[in-house]
Subunit: 679 residues, 2 copies
C-alpha cells in the first residue's frame, strides 16, 4: 500500500494495490472489529495476570529479604519478569495468530492481512488508555488522599494502620504500575508490530518475499530469547554485599542488548536480502536509543547528578523555589529526549533510504528503516517491563516488612531495592515515551495511505500534509491544546478522587472514635471501594476527551469547510476534515512527547530530591565557620521537598503515563476512523 515503483522498459510503472479490491467494506469492518476485541481482551488479560503475580510476589520478596539481598533481587525480578514476558508474548501471539488466520485460514492475500490487524492495535490502545488513566488516578488519589487526611489532618504517621486509606494506597501501586504500564507497552509493541508489517507490505509486493512482512514478528522473538538470557544472568551478578543493587540489573540489561544485536544480525542477514546491512544499522540505532534513554533518565532523576542536587539545594529557601527550580529542570530534560528521538528518526530514515531494493523507492525503505529502529529498541521491552514491575513489588515488600516487624537487616534490603525500583520505574517511562514517538511516525504513514486510497491518489504519489494550510495549522494548535487539556483533567481527577477518599476517612474517624485510639479497625475495604469508584468516575471526562476530540475535529472540519486541495493537475474536494485530523495527530504527538517527558522527569526528580535530603546528603555551611550542618528529615528544607514530591505525584504517575497512551490512541483511532473524515 506504499509508493511502489517497478522499473519497466517504458519508465516507471505503478503497481497500485487496493485492499478494497479484495475485501469489501463490510468484511473489512467485521475483521477489524474482531481484531479490536481480541486486542482489547489480550491487553486486559496481560494487565490482570501481571497484577495477580505481582501481588503474590510481594510477600515472597519480603520473606526473601529476611535471608539475603541476592535472593530478594532474584525473587522480585522474577515476579516482574512474569509481567514482562506475558505482555510481550501476548502481543506477539495476538498479532501472529490474527495474521495467520486472516491470511492462511481465511485466504486473504498476505498483502492485505496486516491492514485488517489495525483493529488489534486500536483495541489495545483503548484498554491501555483506561488502564493507565484509571490506574494512574487510582494510585495517586489513594496516595495523596491518605497522606493529606492522615499526616496533615490527623497527625498520624505515613502508612499508619489507623488510616483507612492505607490499603488503597498499597493496592494503587500495583494498579498504576503493573496494569497501567503493562497495557501501555503492550500497546506500543502491538501498534509498532502492525505498523512495521504494513510498511513491509510495500516491499513484499515488489520482491514477492513474505519475509518482509513477518520480519517484525521474528525479530521480536529473538528479543524474547535475549531477555530470557538477560534475566537469568542477573542473580550471577548479584552478591550479598552489593553496594548498589542497580548494578546487577544494569549488567543484565547489557546482556540483553548484546544478544539483541546478535539476534538482529541473524534476522536481517537471513530475511532482508542483499542490502540487509542498512537495516542492521537501523536496528543498532534503535538498540542504542534504548540504552541512551536509560542513561538520560538516570542522569536527570537520580540523586548522583546536578539536576536533583539543584532541586534539593533550592529546597533550602522553601517550597516555592523547590517548585521553580524543579520546573526548570523538568523542562530542561525535554532537550535530551527530543534530540535523541529526532536523531534516531532522521538517522534510521537515512540509512534505510540508502538500501537499494530494485523497484522500491528510497522513501519506502527509509520509513521501513525507522520501523526497524523502533523494533530494535523494543527488543528489550520485556526486560524493561520486568524492571518496571520490580518497582511496585519491592515497594509493597517494604510495606509488608514494616508491618510484620521483620529484623532491621531485612528493612535495609527492601529500602535499597525500593530506591532502585524508583529509578527503574522512571526508566520505563522514558522508554515508553520514545517508543510512542517512533510508533506514531509509523502509524501516521499508514493513515496517509488509507487517505490516499479513499481520495484516489496513487500510493506512490506524495500526499502532503502542508503546515501552511489553515486546516493543518488549526488542527495542530488543537492537538497541542488537547494534550494540555487532557493533562489538566487527569491532574484534576486525582484531586477530586483524593477528595472522595479524604471524606470517607474523615467519616470513619468521626463515626468510630475507636479507630484513632487504636481500639477498632477501620473499614479498609470500603476505602478501597470508594477509591475505585472515584477513579472510574473521574476517568470519564479525560477518556471522552481523548476519544471524542479527534472525531469532533475531523467531522467539524469536514462538514463546515469546503475548500479544494490542488495537487499538480489533480483536485481533491473537501480535504479539510482529514487535513485537520492529520495536523492534530502529528503536532499533538510532538506536544505529547515533550509534555509527557516533562511530567515524568520532573516528578522523578522531585521524588529523589526528597530522598536525597532524607538520606542526609544536603549540607550547608553552619553558623560557626568551617563546620557543616546537615539538613535532613524534619527540617524546613525537607518539608519544602515533600511539597515538590507531592506535586510530582500526579505529574509522573497519572498525567505523564496517560499521555503516552493518548498519543498512541490518537494514532490508532484516526487510522481506524479515517473514512469518517473523508467525503
Amino acid at each position: 500500500m506504499k509508493d511502489i515503483i517497478a522499473e519497466g522498459s517504458g519508465g516507471n510503472i505503478t503497481i497500485g494495490y487496493s485492499a478494497n479490491a479484495v475485501v469489501d467494506n463490510w468484511e473489512e469492518g467485521l475483521l477489524t472489529g474482531i481484531a479490536f476485541l481480541v486486542g482489547a481482551a489480550a491487553s486486559a488479560l496481560a494487565g490482570y495476570i501481571g497484577m495477580y503475580i505481582s501481588v503474590r510476589s510481594n510477600a515472597r520478596t519480603a520473606s526473601a529479604a529476611t535471608r539475603s539481598l541476592k535472593e530478594a533481587i532474584t525473587v522480585s525480578l522474577r515476579g516482574g519478569a512474569v509481567s514482562g514476558f506475558l505482555v510481550v508474548a501476548l502481543s506477539l501471539l495476538g498479532v501472529s495468530s490474527i495474521f495467520f488466520i486472516y491470511s492462511q485460514v481465511l485466504g486473504n492475500p498476505d498483502a492485505i492481512a496486516p491492514f485488517l490487524i489495525v483493529g488489534f492495535g486500536f483495541g489495545a490502545s483503548f484498554v491501555a488508555l483506561f488502564a493507565q488513566l484509571g490506574g494512574g488516578i487510582y494510585t495517586k488519589a489513594a496516595d495523596v488522599g491518605a497522606d493529606l487526611v492522615g499526616k496533615v489532618e490527623a497527625g498520624i504517621p505515613e502508612d499508619d494502620p489507623r488510616n483507612a486509606a492505607v490499603i488503597a494506597d498499597l493496592v494503587g501501586d500495583n494498579v498504576g504500575d503493573c496494569a497501567g504500564r503493562g497495557a501501555d507497552l503492550f500497546e506500543s509493541m502491538s501498534a509498532e508490530n502492525i505498523g512495521a508489517m504494513i510498511l513491509g507490505v510495500a516491499i513484499f509486493t515488489v520482491t514477492d518475499n513474505v519475509e518482509w512482512i513477518i520480519f517484525p514478528l521474528v525479530l521480536r522473538s529473538f528479543g524474547i530469547l535475549a531477555t530470557i538470557a538477560g534475566l537469568t544472568s542477573v542473580p550471577f551478578f548479584a552478591s550479598d554485599d552489593q553496594k548498589n543493587p542497580m548494578t546487577p540489573l544494569n549488567y543484565g540489561y547489557y546482556i540483553v542488548s548484546i544478544l539483541s544485536v546478535v539476534g538482529l544480525l541473524i534476522t536481517t542477514t537471513v530475511m532482508l536480502g542483499d542490502e540487509w546491512y542498512w537495516f542492521f544499522f537501523c536496528g543498532l540505532i534503535g538498540i542504542g536509543t534504548g540504552i541512551a534513554f536509560v542513561y538520560i533518565t538516570q542522569y536527570y532523576t537520580s540523586g548522583a547528578w546536578r539536576p536533583v542536587r539543584d532541586i534539593a539545594n533550592a529546597s533550602r529557601t522553601g517550597p516555592a523555589t523547590n517548585i521553580i527550580i524543579g520546573t526548570s529542570v523538568g523542562m530542561e530534560t525535554t532537550a535530551a529526549t527530543a534530540i535523541t528521538i529526532a536523531f534516531a528518526l532522521v538517522a534510521s530514515f537515512f540509512l534505510g533510504s540508502e538500501a537499494d531494493i530494485p523497484g522500491v523507492g528510497g522513501f519506502t525503505t527509509g520509513v521501513f528503516g525507522t520501523a526497524v529502529a523502533t523494533m530494535g529498541m523494543l527488543m528489550s521491552a520485556a526486560y524493561i517491563l520486568a524492571m518496571d514491575t520490580f518497582g511496585p513489588i519491592t515497594d509493597n515488600a517494604g510495606g509488608i516488612t514494616e508491618f510484620s516487624g521483620a529484623p532491621e537487616s531485612a528493612r535495609h534490603i527492601t529500602d535499597a531495592l525500593d530506591s532502585v525500583g524508583n529509578t527503574t520505574k522512571a526508566l520505563t517511562k522514558g522508554f515508553a515515551v520514545a517508543s510512542a514517538g517512533l510508533a506514531a511516525f509509523l502509524l501516521f504513514s499508514a493513515y496517509l495511505d488509507k487517505v490516499k486510497e479513499r481520495v484516489n491518489v496513487p500510493l506512490n504519489e506524495q500526499l502532503p500534509i502542508d503546515l501552511s494550510s489553515v486546516d493543518v495549522f488549526a488542527g495542530g494548535l488543537i492537538g497541542v491544546m488537547l494534550v494540555f487539556l487532557f493533562s489538566s483533567l487527569a491532574i484534576r481527577a486525582v484531586g477530586n478522587a483524593a477528595g472522595a477518599i479524604i471524606e470517607e476517612v474523615r467519616r470513619q474517624f468521626r463515626e468510630d472514635p475507636g479507630i484513632l485510639a487504636g481500639t477498632s479497625r477501620p473499614d479498609y475495604g470500603r476505602a478501597v471501594d470508594i477509591t475505585a469508584r472515584a477513579a472510574l468516575r473521574e476517568m470519564i471526562a479525560p477518556g471522552l476527551l481523548a476519544v471524542g476530540m479527534p472525531i469532533a475535529v475531523g467531522l467539524l472540519f469536514r462538514f463546515t469547510r469546503s475548500e479544494e486541495l490542488i495537487l499538480g493537475d489533480r483536485t481533491i474536494d473537501d480535504p479539510s476534515g482529514w487535513l485537520a485530523v492529520a495536523g492534530l495527530l502529528m503536532v499533538g504527538t510532538i506536544g505529547g512527547i515533550i509534555l509527557a517527558t516533562f511530567f515524568n522527569n520532573v516528578g522523578g526528580a522531585w521524588d529523589n530530591a526528597k530522598k536525597y535530603i532524607e538520606a542526609g546528603h544536603l549540607q550547608v555551611e553552619s553558623a560557626n565557620p568551617g563546620a557543616v550542618e546537615t539538613l535532613g528529615k524534619g527540617t524546613d528544607a525537607h518539608k519544602a521537598a515533600v511539597v515538590g514530591d507531592t506535586v510530582g505525584d500526579p505529574f509522573k504517575d497519572t498525567a505523564g503515563p496517560s499521555l503516552h497512551v493518548l498519543i498512541k490512541l490518537l494514532s490508532t483511532i484516526t487510522l481506524v476512523l479515517a473514512p469518517l473524515f473523508i467525503p
Copy 2:
C-alpha cells in the same frame, strides 16, 4: 510574490515577480540591514521613552490619589497612554517612512519595497527579545530576591526600607512591564504590518492598485484615532464612588471597538474594491477576537469565577494542592485560547478566500483575510498597551503612597487601582499571545515565498511543508523542545539572578549591623546595579539559544542530509535544511502559544487566588455547626497561596512574555536568514 494567476485567453498565465530581478543581493542586504537598525532603534526608543514617562507618572498618580479616584484613574491612564501611542506611532512611522523612502525616493517598485522592510521587523524582534527577557529576569529576580532575603530570612515586612533590594524591586516593575511589553507589541505590530503588506503585493501585481499594499498602514491610523477617542472618554465614565475601577476602562474599550468597526468599514469600502465586505467581515472577526481574549483572561485570572476560587480552596490543604490545582487550571486555559485562535484563523481565511478578485486565487485572498483579521485585532493595541502600562504606574503609586504616609483614603484608591492593574496586565499578555500566533502564520507565508524564489518553484505553485517528512517532523520536535528549553533557562535565570541579589543584601546586613537596626541606610544603588548586571548576564544563555537554535538546525540539516524533494515532475535537491526550519518554526510556534498561555494564566490565577484569600473571601465551615470561619491573611491557607504566587512570578512575568517574543523572533530570523538554509 504570491501565487498570482491572471486569466488569459490561452488558460492561466503566471505573472512571476522576482525581487532579485530589480534589486541585486548586495543592495538587498544593505537595505535590509538599514531597516534592521531603524527597527531596533525605534523599538529601543519606544521602550525608553515609555519607561521615562511611566516613572514620572507614578508620583503624580500618588498625588492625584489624595484628591479623588477619578483624577487618579485619569492621570495613571494618561501616563500609560503615552507608552501606548508611542509604540504604535513609532511602528507606523517606521514602516511607512521606510516604505516611502525605499519605493518613492530610491525608486524601487512598490511591489519590492515591502520585502526590504522585513529587516525592520527582525530588528524590532531582536530588541524585543532582550528587552522582554532581560526585563522579565530583572523584575522577578528583584521581586523574589527581596522577598526571600527580607521576609523569609531577616523577618522584616515586604517593601521594608531596611531591605536594600526594595528599590530594585520597584524599578523592576517598570523595566519588565513598560519596556518589555512595549517592545513585544511594537514587534507584533511591525511584523504584522510588514507581513500584511507583503501579502498585499500579490493582489497589487494583478490589480495594479497600490492601496492593497498600504491598506494596513491606513487601517492602523484609524485604530489610533479610535484609541484617542476611547482614552479621552474614560474620565467621563469614571466617578468618585466607583465600585469597580475596571468599569470605566471597559467602557473605554467598547468605544475603541465601536470606532474601530467604523474605521474598518470606511477603509475596506474605500480601498479594497468591489468585494470589500469579505475583508470587512475578516476585520470584524479580528476585533471580536480581541474582545474575546479580554473576557477569557478575566474569567481565568480574576477572583470572581470558578478557576481562581478552586485554587483558593485547594490552598486549604497546603501548598502542594495549591500547585496541583493551579497547574490544572493553567492547562485548562489553553483550550479557550487555542480554540479562539483556530476559529479566527479558519474563519477569516474562509471569508477572505470567498472574495472574488479577478486573477487572484482563493488561497491568496484567504491568507490576506487572516492578515485583515490580525490588523482588526491590533487596531486597539494602543489602548491595550495604555492599560498595561497603567499596571506598573498604579503599583508604584501605591508604594509611594505608603512611603509618604498619605491618608488612608489615598491608599484605598491606589489599592483598588493596583488590583485593576493586575487584570489589565494579564489582558495584554493574552492579547500579545493571540497576535503572535496570527502574525506567525502571516510571516510563515512570506518565508515560503522566499524559499520558492530560491529553489525556482513558481510562486503560484504549492510548496508543501509535509509533516510526514522526517525533516519536518524532527524540526517540529526540536521546535517544541526549544520553547520548553528556553522557558527552562528563563525560569532558572530568575533563580540565579535572585541568588546574586540575596548575597548582596546579606553582605550589607552583615557588614553594617546598623541597617537592620534602622540607624543606617542600605546601599540601594548597589543592589540595583547588581540586579541589572545579573539580569544581563543571565539573559545570555536563553538569548543565544533563541537566535542560535534555528540557525543551527537549518545548517545541520542542510549539510548532513542529502535527500531530494519530488514535486510532480520537478526535483528539488537538498531541501532538508529549509524543511527542518519550517517544521521548527510552525510547530514551535504552536507549542509556544500554548505554553505561553499556560504560564501567563497560571501565574495570574495564583496571584489572584492569594489576593482572594487576603480579601477574606475564603470561608470554611467552622467547628461549631452553622458558623463559618474566614481563612485570611496569616493562616496556613494564605501561606500556601503565597507559595503559588511566588512560583507564578517567573512563569507569568519572565517565561510567558519572553515566549511571545521568541515566537516572533523565530518568524523574522528564519525569514531574513532563509538563504542560509537553501543550497
